[in-house]
Amino acid sequence: MKILIANRGEIAVRVLRACKELGIKAAVIFSEADRLSPHVLLAEEAHYIGPAPANQSYLKNEEIVKLAKKIKAEAIHPGYGFLAENPEFAKLCKEEGIIFIGPNPESMKLLGSKIESRKEAKKNNIPIIPGTVEPIKNLKKGIEIIEEIGLPVLLKASAGGGGKGMRTVEDIKDFQSLFENAQREAFSYFSDPSIYIEKVIKNPKHIEVQILCDHFGNRIYLGERECSLQRRHQKIFEETPSVVVDEKKRKEIGEIALKVAKVAGYDSAGTVEFLRDEEGNFYFLEMNTRIQVEHPITEEVTGIDLLKEQIKIAFDEKLKIKQEEIKIKGHSMECRIYAEDPLKNFAPSPGKILFLENPSGPGIRVDSGIRENFYVPLDYDPLLSKLIVWGKDRNEAIERTKRALDEYKIEGIATTIPFFKEILKLKEFLDGTYNTATIDKFLKEYKHREEKEDLPPLFALSSYLILKEKEGTLFPEQPLSPWRWR
């Protein structure tokens, strides 16, 4: 058996590992920018797919399927991002007789549409954020709905995305002008003036449920992940269990998640996302039809290898794990290490990794897509690696994460490692009350802690290098970095 991995970076490495443990051969693809990427260097088979830009390489669905057939791979694993949630690609695979490791294209398509899945959820009594499920076109209907669900509300273009045509209504007096405004913008961007109205959930927590569904109607949930630490709606840190979810709530949202999967005919590993309001109500948000970046923390507390389960399901195996066997043991958290400079407003920091030392020891796992001497390209997502930590309780997990961040040395480019060291001291983090707004609020006053104790060693080395240079005992001047030969 052979699987073609149609991705790059840490997730391609993760899939490689799962294949190896299952005794399945694996081949990877690489763009011009990735010839020397760790996912290639770790693979025993690798194929060039195109130039650096993703639309000329990792997104070339037809070439990828053609390659799979050429090298006699039975299946394609899409990872996350790129082609992972593209129903057309899943369909193409099916038509060409290649197993797509993910859900069937129909359920993917349904769940990929926020509006359709919201409708379907409402029909099946799954709690959704109060508001319209059909687009509205006139003011009067809008006022009726606001009277029903209360203020504040969010106006969203039906066809929208990227915040275009979005308005928040705090006061009913402003509704008319904001509504007309939103309609105009929606029309000018999408040629469709229809507008949705949704209640604004204040300071929500983002909590999601991991599920596994096979081709035979077996479905289980594997507990939740709290992903409320977000920078501009991008998750940066996740943990499980959530401080606000107890055994009873876990069962409740787990069963809702399975209902979503059942309604949609879902048959793979997937994640059902919820928002939780300050009163503790959960609302179905959407379902992600892929393996997620943050899947490892669920693996850590359940002991179940989600990648391997996902692959086995795709190969028509029956799910052997029973719901009652799922036990959550201890606590796990993940820090996403990005090539971004926290001191420069998180500007991307591509470049060469001059020194790398991964943390290890008890409870530490690093899922990484980099290594020393690797040049982080600027063409793709800046996720370098994920620091995944397990502890017997939340407190031990926090102490270990701190310890591991101190050990973790990615040097030569700026990363989010120093930023996480500060996050872990935040009161809202420590007491678990944080929500999706916490990080953006914190960032307004963020800077690295001034490490006064770092000054003497910096002075010592500065003096050493300059005096050695004057002595003429330093290596001769070189165009790049004389103390860094590689």
């Binding site: 991307p348 001059l354 600027l378 063409d379 997502d381 000054l455 060693p457 002075f459 080395l461 860094r484």
Partner: protein, 169 residues
Amino acid sequence: MKLLIKVNNKEYQIEAKKEGEKINFIFNDEIYNAEIKESAPGLFSILFEKGTQREILANKIANNSFNFYINAKEYPVTILDNLSIEKEKFKKVEKKIEGWKIKAQIPGKIVKILKKEGEIVEKDEGVLIMEAMKMQNEIKAPEKGKIKKIYVREMEAVESGSILVESEI
């Protein structure tokens, strides 16, 4: 020897002496003794007499100018000795006359140019938008100035360090 060390743009003055692989220096009236050993190319272990140990990666980016890394934290450091201090002062004067230049900090693509040559821009006003790693960043004017020359066009790919925009005064 007297050294002026700029760390993160803050200046510190020390008096340092080297004996073999040992460095003695005085900072804030305190005496420090350290031994320095290279643990890997570009990596140095600094061990102070009282036992404190730190490992630093030194990435030289120009003469007397380094990016140092301690525990994955970046410290841009410039070292000036007596002679260089004078030169630096002179350069500062020169610079004042010349106005500012904006260089690309990272390789990327120019997505949009927001100003024209000849236009006056205020400090922190956006001059152009650059994209790298799927992210767009607005590049701002470091000081008030009149745009003298724009060296790039929209959709142009630029290398790290290349000059993008220059002002006068």
